[in-house]
């Protein structure tokens, strides 16, 4: 299918990979325990599910603070800036092109990890969905303090339902996200890259200016 020569490049730093898999584990635990708290099944018992959910939730909150620090201090945030450039080309690719063996319109390259669709998805996730889960989660957890904090107008029902809706969106994301890892040049290529940090990419594909995380960073990493 691919006639181009593949080269391997170091795409994901150690912290980035650690954060990815830690977050995966935390979200997995939160989903398992959260859905039990919602009364879907009885696995470890309500009390244990609540305790683990609260503990993991707060752990995630703290870990997320480190991620935010990392994303801003390293300039990685630029990888999450949304763009409509080639967005429709990517959508078209996943809808049609992929079946015809076409090449990805925005392949991964050093300094440009995310295609426009990924940028949009990860930004909504990291800047919207996850913060919503964290905020509603913290409110849920601190229900007893609402009165003293002057938040008596809040409704546990509303908070709980937003939190639950968020969980469904995250679950949906995971399903699609895990599936999308199989769309690399081989089924496990992307997963392997997220474990080792090294991604196989096609040689000679130029990075367009708009994709560059930062000129400085790019020149540094390339040289």
């Amino acid at each position: 299918m691919h006639s181009m020569k593949m080269i391997t490049t170091y795409l994901y730093s150690r912290y980035e990979r650690f954060w990815h898999w830690l977050q995966m584990a935390l979200i997995f635990l939160l989903l398992i325990t959260g859905l039990e708290v919602h009364g879907l099944y009885s696995l470890m018992g309500f009390e244990q599910a609540v305790n683990i959910h609260n503990f993991v939730g707060i752990t995630w909150l703290i870990a997320f603070a480190f991620f935010v620090f990392w994303v801003f201090t390293t300039g990685e945030w630029k990888q999450y800036v949304p763009t409509t450039k080639k967005l429709f080309a990517v959508i078209r690719y996943y809808s049609f092109g992929i079946f015809k063996g076409e090449l990805h319109p925005v392949p991964k390259r050093k300094g440009a990890k995310h295609n426009p669709l990924q940028r949009l998805t990860y930004l909504s996730l990291a800047a919207m969905l996850l913060p919503i889960q964290m905020v509603t989660g913290v409110f849920y957890w601190t229900y007893n303090s609402w009165e003293t904090w002057g938040l008596g107008f809040l409704s546990l029902k509303v908070v709980a339902l937003i939190h639950l809706a968020g969980a469904f969106f995250i679950l949906t994301f995971i399903i699609v996200h895990v599936y999308m890892t199989t769309t690399g040049h081989s089924i496990f290529a992307h997963i392997k890259a997220m474990i080792t940090g090294w991604e196989e990419i096609e040689e000679g594909v130029e990075i367009e200016d708009w994709e560059k995380a930062s000129r400085k960073q790019f020149s540094e990493t390339v040289s």
Binding site: L22, G39, F46, Q48, Y143, A165, A167, T172
Partner: protein, 523 residues
């Protein structure tokens, strides 16, 4: 990443603050007495009647009678209710057991009044009912004594001496009230063992800790008065609409508070500091989880249908004994039902119980709540509390729309005459109440807070017994969102729809990739 303490993972040795506090509150040695009553001259005289014994008591305890006569235990009247519709057994209060004490004119009810005979408040105080540690059949003893004393037969005179020795020994055996003393009325109210409360019955005279963790002989071995602390004969506890304690303070905050609330000793943070349990104490009473069931050893009566009373076999009243050896039918009382290991009903409760009186106008088209807890979710002082609900059917005046108060005991009471109209008329007269002469039966309910029979902590309710659907113990309490019990169907359906759609989407996408790649290879 482990910044938050997580005791369910890392077992901490730290105890719950409330448990530590409670242990300290009961650490002191039991109170001992400095008086041996058998040494007192006043108690060494010959007693020919009960009142003579009480008189001897009061020759030293000079203030006791004054103190006692002001208490609910004597007056049977709620001091905090209006005089013209006063609550209390001696007032206009009603229940769905023996219905009314007819202003202490029903002698059967007066058996539990702490006087020497069934004359109610006209009688002399019977100190030994609460303080006597040796129970004898007083009536028989005094009768025998009188009979033998009057005899000239020296043998019978000797017998009289023997009886008197027995009387004196009982009179001298006095002390602080024990579970048995309190239980002689409170365990057998309503005319029999376990008729009324469900959390109070004779099984508590000598309970193990499995039955009651505080009173158990192998637990803390508390007497009733350990919590029902007493000042000047006034025993701490709820009085009809007046809560047992208006403040939720622990002894740490106020060392002279009565120990009547769980929180008095356990504080409002009774559990280990982590976890969600302590967060519940603002809305959920301790009893809700720690009294998971009642009537654990002896059955409790749950239903009493007076409308079935009065049937006769061969012209004679009869009884039918059912399971547990308890009557399920009595001509005198009607149909009754009994249950064991009863799961309480959960209701909002701010400490007051609203009781109906014989003067209150009722709506016979609905269940008539003769006693029902006060409070709702928005009441800051109200918490979810377990209750034993006793239901039944009993007569009411269809014209005046009031509950009626039949006289039951005695030669002219219903139990002898089986004549509703006559007995109701007599009962009404004692209370100066009108009676139209027309009656029917209406279903009623009467609640008892379940606060005794506190289970050991390993038997307390699991979270999942309330936080579940559809069998939540709190299924009847609405108007608030409870995790695990409640959901919005729309969110659940929409959520799963999105999840399933995305899953279906990737399956189709994957199939598409497999299919088209396959075709390409053939080319």
């Amino acid at each position: 990443m482990v910044f938050v303490p997580m005791p369910s993972f890392a077992k901490q040795e730290q105890e719950a603050p409330g448990l530590e506090l409670a242990r300290q509150a009961v650490k002191a040695e039991r109170k001992t007495t400095t008086a041996d009553h058998s040494q007192f001259k006043a108690l060494q005289q010959a007693f020919a009647s009960g009142p003579e014994i009480s008189k001897a008591c009061m020759s030293c305890h000079t203030k006791a009678a004054d103190q006692l006569k002001k208490t609910l235990h004597w007056t049977w009247l709620d001091p905090n209710s209006p005089k013209n519709n006063q609550k209390g057994k001696a007032g206009y209060s009603l229940n769905n057991f023996c219905i009314s004490a007819n202003g202490t004119h029903d002698h059967h009810c007066n058996e539990c009044h702490i006087g020497w005979n069934a004359e109610g408040k006209k009688a002399e105080i019977d100190c030994l009912r609460c303080h006597g540690q040796k129970k004898i059949n007083w009536e028989e003893a005094f009768e025998d004594y009188e009979y033998f004393m009057e005899s000239n037969d020296p043998e019978e005179k000797a017998l009289a001496k023997e009886v008197q020795a027995e009387i004196q020994e009982a009179a001298q055996s006095v002390g602080r009230p024990t579970r048995k003393n309190c239980g002689s009325c409170h365990f057998s109210g309503g005319g029999g063992d376990g008729v009324k409360h469900g959390d109070l019955d004779p099984s508590l005279i000598n309970p193990n800790r499995q039955l009651d963790v505080h009173m158990g002989y192998d637990g803390r071995d508390f007497e009733c008065i350990r919590c029902h602390t007493t000042i000047a004969h006034r025993v701490a506890g709820r009085i009809y609409g007046t809560p047992a304690s208006k403040t939720r303070q622990s002894l740490l905050e106020h060392d002279l508070e009565p120990k009547i609330m769980c929180e008095s000793c356990h504080s409002d943070k009774p559990h280990k500091s982590s976890g969600k349990m302590n967060d519940h104490t603002d809305k959920v009473a301790c009893q809700a989880c720690h009294v998971p069931k009642i009537a654990k050893i002896l059955p409790v009566q749950t239903w009493w249908d007076w409308s079935k009373a009065g049937k006769k076999k061969d012209g004679k009243p009869y009884d039918i004994i059912g399971p547990f050896g308890k009557p399920v039918y009595q001509s005198t009382r009607g149909e009754t039902r009994w249950e064991k290991n009863v799961i309480p009903k959960y209701l909002w409760f701010n400490g007051s119980i609203q009781g109906a009186t014989a003067k209150d106008i009722i709506d016979p088209s609905k269940l008539v709540k003769l006693a029902w807890p006060d409070g709702n979710r928005n009441d800051k002082n109200a918490r979810i509390f377990p209750f034993n609900i006793h239901s039944g059917k009993q007569p009411y005046d269809t014209v005046n729309k009031t509950m009626v108060t039949p006289l039951l005991s005695g030669g002219q009471g219903y139990w002898s005459t089986f004549d509703w109209k006559d007995s109701i008329e007599r009962g009404a007269k004692y209370l100066n109440l009108p009676f139209s002469g027309k009656i029917d039966f209406v279903e009623t309910a009467y609640v008892f807070p379940s606060t005794h029979m506190v289970a050991p902590k390993e038997d307390a309710l699991e979270c999942s017994q309330c936080h579940t659907r559809p069998s939540s113990r709190l299924a009847n309490l609405t108007g608030f969102y409870m995790p695990g019990r409640d959901r919005l169907k729309f969110i659940d359906i929409a959520g799963w729809a999105i999840v399933l759609c995305s899953f279906g989407g990737i399956v189709l996408h994957a199939l598409g990739r497999i299919f088209t790649n396959g075709r390409k290879k053939e080319e």
